[in-house]
């Protein structure tokens, strides 16, 4: 079968918003084994009150965590987007294999709104 078309990628494009609480909050359930999940962008939104240091970790199938992005400085009135410049669905910043999971976290402070954009290689 041919590679996915641009339209098929758009049909699979998903945006999920979570409120990150504490050191580890999942963006979604573990990726089903038959899929690869392509993370196109992650955006953290400062709450206008507290500056925080964010991180992004991957929960691997062996139960251990792998740090992917650490010490992301999120000033209170700002937002931080990964990738920093633009986004391209065909060039994901993270690829999660089946069985893994993505977490966002911070060390101190209140909740942080975060948005993750992704698509899966299988429906």
């Amino acid at each position: 079968m041919p590679a996915l078309t641009k339209e098929e990628i758009r049909e699979r494009y998903r945006t999920v918003n979570v409120y990150i609480i504490g050191t580890r909050t999942p963006f979604f359930d573990a990726v089903p084994e038959r899929k690869m999940r392509n993370i196109v962008a992650i955006t953290f939104f400062g709450d206008g009150v507290t500056t925080r240091t964010m991180d992004i970790e991957k929960l691997k199938e062996d139960g251990t965590y792998e740090m992917l992005y650490d010490k992301i400085n999120l000033a209170a009135p700002e937002k931080v987007q990964l990738p920093i410049e633009g986004r391209n669905p065909e060039n994901p910043i993270i690829v999660l294999e089946g069985g893994t999971r993505l977490y966002g976290g911070y060390v101190t402070g209140t909740t942080v709104a975060a948005t993750c954009e992704y698509w899966d290689n299988e429906p």
């Binding site: 079968m1 041919p2 078309t5 098929e8 049909e11 699979r12 998903r14 429906p123």
Partner: protein, 249 residues
């Protein structure tokens, strides 16, 4: 896709004066296309028998339905009600493209029967469970370019059913591009002794002349022609070996 033997259906449709061999359960018929009319229903939004749009919930199945005319849901779009039209036998030949591609489509030819495309040695396919076999989707037969991944050849008097499964995490209404050709054709009649059509029949069977070989239903399990159609088409299907051995003088 053509590198894997899957082609856009428009490359498979026949033109007037093209030859074809039609395989039924009883045997083969040989014919020449006299008229061809392209039939298109695009976009076609899947509906139920009451004419309501079917929105398949996330990770859910849709029981078997016909592709009904939304303007009059009693009508099955892929149905030929008479064996002949304007004095000629006719069949439908084409394919359907679907979107979104997260919808798995399980055809039943005819309605209520087995699903084509099953590996011979596996258990029956369960569309209700979203089995990952026996289906096709908008990935195999894209909405904008239906392919012969699932090629439909429909004789008069049979309904085609379809079941669906939505793999996605959100509800979807399947939308189709129904692209068919309607052929009116002349049947060649084999005769014992030297008959006027014996030579062309034999040449098609022996592949001496280009001709499309079309199976009514699907490979390995062709549909029967039926007594009514045999009578009204006034022709008896024969075996390929009989066609090859016809006396041509």
């Amino acid at each position: 896709m053509s590198s894997k033997g899957i082609s856009p259906i428009v490359e498979r449709l026949l033109l007037p004066n093209h030859l074809m061999a039609l395989e039924f359960r009883e045997g083969w018929l040989f014919a020449r296309v006299l008229r061809r009319r392209i039939l298109l229903y695009k976009p076609y939004s899947l509906i139920d028998s009451g004419g309501s749009v079917i929105d398949i919930a996330a990770a859910s199945a849709q029981a078997e339905v016909w592709l009904r005319d939304p303007r009059n849901p009693k009508n099955d779009i892929l149905y030929l009600d008479n064996t002949t039209d304007a004095g000629f036998p006719w069949i439908l030949h084409g394919a359907i493209g679907w979107k979104p591609h997260q919808i798995l489509v399980y055809p039943r030819i005819p309605e209520g029967s087995d699903i084509p495309g099953k590996f011979p040695n596996i258990d029956p396919i369960k569309p209700s469970a979203g089995d990952f076999t026996g289906y096709y989707s908008g990935h195999e037969s894209p909405y904008d370019e239906p392919t012969d991944f699932m090629e439909y050849v429909i004789r008069p008097g049979i309904h085609i059913g379809h079941e669906f499964y939505n793999l996605d995490s959100r509800a979807h209404n399947p939308v189709a591009n129904i692209l068919f050709a309607l052929y009116h054709f002349q049947l060649f009649k084999p005769l014992s002794g030297v008959g006027p059509h014996n030579r062309i029949i034999r040449d098609i069977a022996l592949r001496h002349v280009p001709a499309a070989f079309l199976t009514i239903g699907f490979t390995g399990h062709p549909l029967d022609l039926g007594d009514t159609v045999i009578k009204e088409w006034d022709v008896v299907p024969i075996k390929l070996t009989e066609a090859e051995a016809l006396e041509v003088g």
